[in-house]
Assembly symmetry: C2
Homo-oligomer: 465 residues x 2
């Protein structure tokens, strides 16, 4: 079998490695546009901030290392067209400009996503994007520049977009001693993932750390001279800046597959089944480019996370191998519940399931409770603060969402709520589970179980503990 | 209704408060042997170590505060007999020695557990026990004593018993600058709760912190003069010591209930149903004194933890109130899976379900996998070390146990495995759940999912990701 993979990061290289390990007779060919394979995109802000010393630290395996494992990696090579009838991918060598055909028996589209550049003057020419490792290196080089007298050239930065990456970059800049101004067109930070009452705590944490927030401001233009930004213009005025980082999200790189006939889903990614097959015979897709089934909202959703890309790459590879034997793959990707975590300025932020707004959009009749607790027993030193919000569906009582923001050991606690969301566990059952307790880790009632108890009451369910 | 509760800590006061809140007409009477109600027993080692300044910090609510809420609390009063036919508890006022009868309509036995004193010469007279807050205060007073010249009188301590409390006390002593020697008759620390390969990591952590371990040594006698210990004798020799703390476990305070006709279970605690009814009409029991159903091992187990005591107290109270209306309580205690966590010397220790030995005892055919990972992404600074062990049942593939030991943010991660154990989730399903990922909190595959994947392979199950 000749298995061709377009895209050499998490989903693609996971699948390539799995198929290659199955049988040395398989020809496995990877087409990768950039110079790197298999690196941690999520680690880039930490590299920019300097916590991670070298870009290479983020690379799990280089193209050469994959080649030594028998995988043919064509880096700096772009796939320009797929011909599904003749099972051929047209590729272009970006160094020489030469084009050629790569035939395939089975194809995996793992093309990821591309960052959105706002359609305003100067954005493309003067703004920094930090989506690929190359771009992260470029930003860091820029921040490292010194003036003749030795002072850093970059003292003031504007970051556009207050989502995960924008916040992480803002923190990295402050850590480097650079003034950071974080601009977002919505009135909240993390407006896509947290409810406003929860994200307000994150905004306070950012401000306490030294980030200047300018919310409810839309980018109008970037101004500069000699190829460098000097001012960032919003609908509320001009902000002087030595650098501007744009982090307003990313869209699935789906065009190549769409031109080959693959269907796009309501989430904006490619439609795949639970075995990661697209709607075109012989083509699978995995990672940031696909829609996943949101188990809570009951609808497709494009979620761009390395953890899903890895799992989906595996599931696709298992099905590719089974398909070759005339079978169906034993693995099925079960869907997602929207679990995500990050850390900003010693605050941990975690969420799973739906927010109140997302519940309404999905037609879920959900009740929400919020309260503030501690990460350790209240009588311990440094007990920490945790803001907890949980949502459950009226009628069924199943947990449908949770948001946690706090200091101390908070983020990974979301996984319990994620499992509850994934399995449709009710608040009545949740409140009585055998979760761990010791004073260094919380009170005698786990925070998530306190939330479940409050929801039992709020929903008028029984038993009310 | 006259509701009498014997025992004024977690289970008892939770039930008393719940019943009292239901209706002011209920007479709620609590009989408590000691001077305190509702305090955190688990916090005592931190009080001994000085991290918690005052004993009062551990008290959630005093007898007087409960009285202000309309609960009659008889502190320093001991229940000496129950007459279930006449529904009367015989009590003794420990200050006056006077006895009287307290009639009840419904009775809750929440008598907790009592620490075991080894039957060796000198143990009762010279050893310190730290089970009650009084005893914690007594130990701390002893450690605070100074010689005429101002030097601390206690410089060297022997702690007998390397379970949770023994380890926590040993750490507290080291923190106070006291040499601590930890003795256990088994060859491992935490032998009751961890497998030897996992507890070996904990032993190393204790030694690195400065605790001297003497394992495989049995206590023979305590020697002393003027009421103070001077030497602790084991079957391997004598150890000079200024104080000796004995922490070799606790047994359910069941005699009172047994004499009233209540049945004892295979775990050594009182038999109760899911609504916390004992086998005697009109008597409920909750907390450390009862056996709980172990959902993984499928057998009764006496687990002494405040978190269960609280939940069971609630469940009992709900059934007491329902019983008064001629109904059954809506709440049922679902059982336990043996989740427990602690922190010793910056190492977090967590476990749930069965160990390999417990699996064998329970007749479970389980496979185990072990590996060492990191608490953060491997390329992050201070990635931490986590030793992971997970067990799954052959055939069904359900997760039946997990042990985590490590530095960094480890302990509360056990809750995901606890939920898997509680719900009988298989390793195949576990490996594909939507758990959180970001570099500050781990790799792209969650540690528990790495374990689940390894178990899929180990058990020869499909799909093997």
């Amino acid at each position: 079998m000749r298995f061709v993979v377009i895209g050499g990061d998490a989903a693609g290289m996971t699948a390539a490695s799995h198929v290659r390990r199955d049988d040395d007779a398989h020809q496995v060919v990877v087409i990768e546009k950039g110079p790197h394979t298999s690196y941690s995109m999520c680690g880039i802000p930490y590299f920019v901030g300097g916590e991670i010393a070298e870009a290479d630290d983020l690379v799990v395996r280089t193209p050469q290392e994959f080649r030594e494992r028998g995988i043919v990696v064509h880096d700096r090579t772009e796939a320009v067209a797929i011909d599904p009838d003749h099972r051929v991918v047209r590729v272009r060598d970006l160094r020489t400009g030469g084009e050629r055909d790569e035939p395939y028996d089975r194809l995996l589209v793992a093309t990821g996503a591309h960052p959105v550049t706002p359609p305003v003057p100067g954005a493309a020419a003067l703004g920094h994007i930090v989506h690929t490792l190359d771009e992260g290196e470029e930003l860091r080089r820029h921040l490292d520049e010194r003036e003749a007298a030795g002072a850093p050239r970059v003292r003031r930065a504007v970051v556009v977009g207050a989502g995960y990456i924008g916040m992480e970059i803002a923190e990295a800049l402050i850590t480097r001693g650079i003034d950071a101004i974080l601009v977002d067109r919505t009135d909240e930070v993390m407006s896509a993932t947290l409810d406003p009452d929860v994200s307000a705590h994150v905004a306070t944490a950012l401000e306490d750390f030294g980030v200047t927030l300018r919310l409810g401001e839309s980018l109008v233009a970037l101004h500069g001279e000699d190829g460098r930004v000097t001012e960032v213009e919003t609908d509320r005025g001009r902000i002087a800046a030595d650098v501007c980082v744009i982090a307003v999200g990313a869209r699935p790189n789906r065009d190549l597959a769409v031109e080959a006939g693959c269907t796009v889903g309501d989430g904006g990614g490619l439609v795949v089944d639970a075995r990661m097959r697209t709607t075109v015979d012989g083509i699978w897709a995995a990672g940031d480019v696909v829609d996943s089934h949101d188990l809570v909202a009951g609808r497709p959703r494009n979620v761009q996370l390395g953890t899903h890309a890895n799992k989906q790459g595996k599931v696709a590879a298992i099905d590719v191998l089974a398909d070759q034997r005339g079978e169906r793959g034993a693995a099925r990707f079960p869907g997602v519940v929207g679990t995500a975590v990050t850390k900003v300025c010693d605050w941990e932020i975690a969420r799973t399931g739906v927010t109140e707004e997302q519940a309404r959009e999905a037609g879920l009749d959900a009740a929400a409770v919020s309260f503030t607790g501690t990460a350790r027993a209240g009588y311990m030193a440094d007990a920490g603060t945790v803001h907890v919000k949980m949502l459950a569906e009226r009628g069924t009582g199943r947990v449908v969402g949770c948001q946690l923001v706090g200091t101390g050991n908070v983020a990974k606690r979301i996984d319990v709520a994620a499992v509850w969301c994934q399995l449709g566990v009710t608040v009545q059952d949740a409140q009585l589970m055998d979760l761990s307790y010791a004073p260094p880790f919380g009170g005698v009632w786990d925070l998530l179980q306190v939330a479940a108890r409050k929801l039992v009451r709020e929903l008028g369910l029984s038993p009310e503990l």
